[in-house]
Amino acid sequence: MVRYLTIRLLQMFVLFLVFLTILFFLINAQPGDISAQFVGNPDIPPEAKQILRERLGLDQPLFAQYLFYIRNVLTLNLGVSFDHYPRTVADILLTALPRTLYLFGIATLLSYIVGFQTGKMVAWRRGSAAETGTMVTSIILYTVFYPWFAILMLWFFGSQLNWFPLGKFLTPAQWFDAPYTANQVFNTMLLSMFLAGAGVALVVWGTGKFVAEPVPRTRARRILFALIAISMLAFWLISPMSRYAADIAYHTVLPVTTLTLVFYAAITLLTRSSMLETLREDYIFTARAKGVPEKVIRDRHAARNAMLPVTTSFVLAIAFIIGGGIVTESIFSWPGLGLTLLNAVNVEDLPVAMGALAFIGLLALFAHLVADVLYAFLDPRIRVQG
């Protein structure tokens, strides 16, 4: 598997370079002088312009400019924002990135977990009223025009029922004397979630590897999971940050739910058809002949295999998820990469727009890589050979 992943990683690096090349030509094919676009902002003082021109290599021939551009992106040297001069593009994007990761990560995780379970159940009970109901709901959610749906969610839960704030990242009134910046709190939240996830993965892997008998294995897992949960809980109960974290968390509920609902529908539809295919396989029949109880056949045999195509499809869904993320950020005023991109585009802040695009491309590649790793873990035909 190491070999497989190394190859994938190399491929992705090449893909990223190709992506950057496309971006570069996108800017250069534009009518007018590129240097005017990049350095033409009247807010920038003349001496700074000259420095920028050199830093961006705009006084060089096209190919040299291209190499310059690639090097600059790879070293995060993305220039200076027109709109927020003199903040650097890298600074703006690095602030926005965790917020997008958070939205993207939670919505993806939730929708995959819940959608997979639903798809599994409805495929199993083919022909039931529950199946029809779920299918109709999923098709409606899947085909609804997402921006419109998001607006309706905001209107209904935010304005009509008044359950959730009308977008934004936090309630400014609560924060004016806060000892932390929003980003500090937010990054701590992200980190703790990541640590918990890594802990769970480690426990699953470790117990699977070192505890052979199933009964003590389950027991060990339960204890270790509880330990992780308790330590998370303890940290957030004791930490003085929790007040502010709660405020942020409160603001995330509506956008995350909205985004999740739509992916959830897609995953449900996908899992159902994948599951129906799997249920026709010979090994399902073998399991029945072996006298394996029906529930175990569903979960251990059918669903486990149905996961493979669903995981592959994640690669196809990445573009879809990113698109949904941008719309969500815009409608719920969630200051992540998507909103940064849209704002930059609206005020013609080209460096920020191109930088955001590069970051989003990187995010897509990263998601692709995660899907690949997951797939390799799930499918022994790849795991064992590589």
Binding site: A212, E213, P214, E281, D282, Y283, F285, T286, A287, R288, A289, K290, G291, V292, P293, H301, R304, N305, L308, L378, D379, P380, R381, V384
Partner: protein, 350 residues
């Protein structure tokens, strides 16, 4: 539960268990149809036979005559559109058709195991082969064994079927076709079933491997005294390894008897044609009597004797009345009005 686990212990010491007399399986007037949107497919029509303990029965017949359908009925693993209209399947004293789903589930593999037609795909690709066998053991052994004990048993079974025990930690895709088939046999043996149904267990294998696997299957069966139903459309393969032979045509069992009797003197015209068109197991090729006409359409089976449109001995009675299964000599049953007309094989040969 019904299986006696001491047998496992007994086997581990290599003893040969005692055989009870009497039939282990009795199939009595079984009728099974598939419901389709064009009507009913009559796949098993009034089939009866018995198998004694430690005996083997071969079922032969052309493709689509209902052999797999019988096997699936015995396992009660029929698709949703199948309906068992009538009959009894008595395994070791209990009518399987009267058991609840849960009771039947416990019986599967424990009492009645199966080696499938096309066992190539019968392994779940994401689990180790050993783990898949252990799943059956965990489910059916009276006392759920520890992983170590179960693995020891699997290793033993692997050796029995000629596989390296280390292979049990491998995934199915790392096995060749023949190895998968052997592992399937190991899995079928894992819970000491009273009877094993082998549905074309070797069709996907090349001839040499096929012979080896068959040979192993037979010696294992003899050693452990389990019963086996062996399904194939290749009569030559079956002849060598079974005690009894059943010949099926269009959902019906048309001839049933000791393999050597049926081989020496097939009395049903279809069996006679089948045997005389098959290269002899031992001697030179016999005179070929080609089977003419279309295979029957089970949606609209022929009236009377289902073989009459293709039968060289057919009379008017054959088209009108269904011939009953008659015992023409001890243990040799035939369903034909004119079985006396069927010539001896010898007369046809040479």
């Amino acid at each position: 539960m019904t299986a006696d686990r001491s047998m496992v212990a007994g086997k581990q010491e290599g003893e040969k268990p005692e055989l009870d007399p009497g039939p282990i399986l009795e199939v009595d007037h079984l009728i099974m149809n598939y419901r389709t949107k064009d009507g009913y497919v009559s796949a098993v029509q009034d089939v009866s036979f018995t198998i004694g303990r430690g005996e083997s029965l071969g079922l032969v017949g052309e493709s689509g005559c209902g052999k797999t359908s019988i096997a699936m009925s015995l396992m009660r693993l029929l698709p949703d559109n199948a309906e068992i209209q009538a009959g009894k399947i008595v395994l070791d004293g209990d009518n399987l058709l009267e058991l609840s789903d849960e009771e039947m589930r416990r019986r599967r593999w424990n009492d009645i195991a199966m080696i499938f037609q096309g066992a190539m795909n019968s392994w779940n690709p994401v689990y180790r082969v050993g783990d898949q066998i252990r799943e059956a053991i965990d489910l059916h052994w009276e006392e759920k064994p520890t992983v170590a004990v179960a693995n020891a048993r699997i290793a033993e079974l692997f050796e029995l079927v000629g596989l390296d025990p280390a292979m049990m930690d491998r995934y199915p895709h790392e096995f060749s076709g023949g190895m998968k088939q052997r592992a399937v046999i190991a899995m079928a043996l894992s819970c000491d079933p009273k009877i094993i149904i082998a549905d074309e267990p070797t069709t996907a294998l090349d001839v040499i491997v096929q012979e080896q696997v068959l040979e192993e299957l037979r010696s294992i069966q003899h050693e452990f005294g389990m019963s086996i139903i062996y399904i194939s459309h290749d009569i030559a393969v079956i002849a060598e390894i079974t005690d009894h032979l059943g010949v099926m045509y269009a959902g019906k069992l048309v001839e049933h008897g000791l393999t050597e009797d049926v081989f020496a003197r097939p009395r049903h015209p279809y069996a006679w044609l089948l045997l005389s068109s098959t290269p002899s197991v031992t001697g030179p090729r016999l005179n070929l009597n080609p089977l003419e006409g279309e295979p029957p359409d089970l949606l609209h089976p022929p009236t009377g004797c289902r073989f009459h449109p293709r039968c060289p001995f057919a009379t008017d009675q054959c088209a009108a009345e269904e011939p009953p299964m008659e015992e023409i000599e001890p243990g040799h049953l035939v369903a034909c009005w004119n079985y006396e007309q069927v010539p001896e094989m010898k007369a046809e040969s040479a």
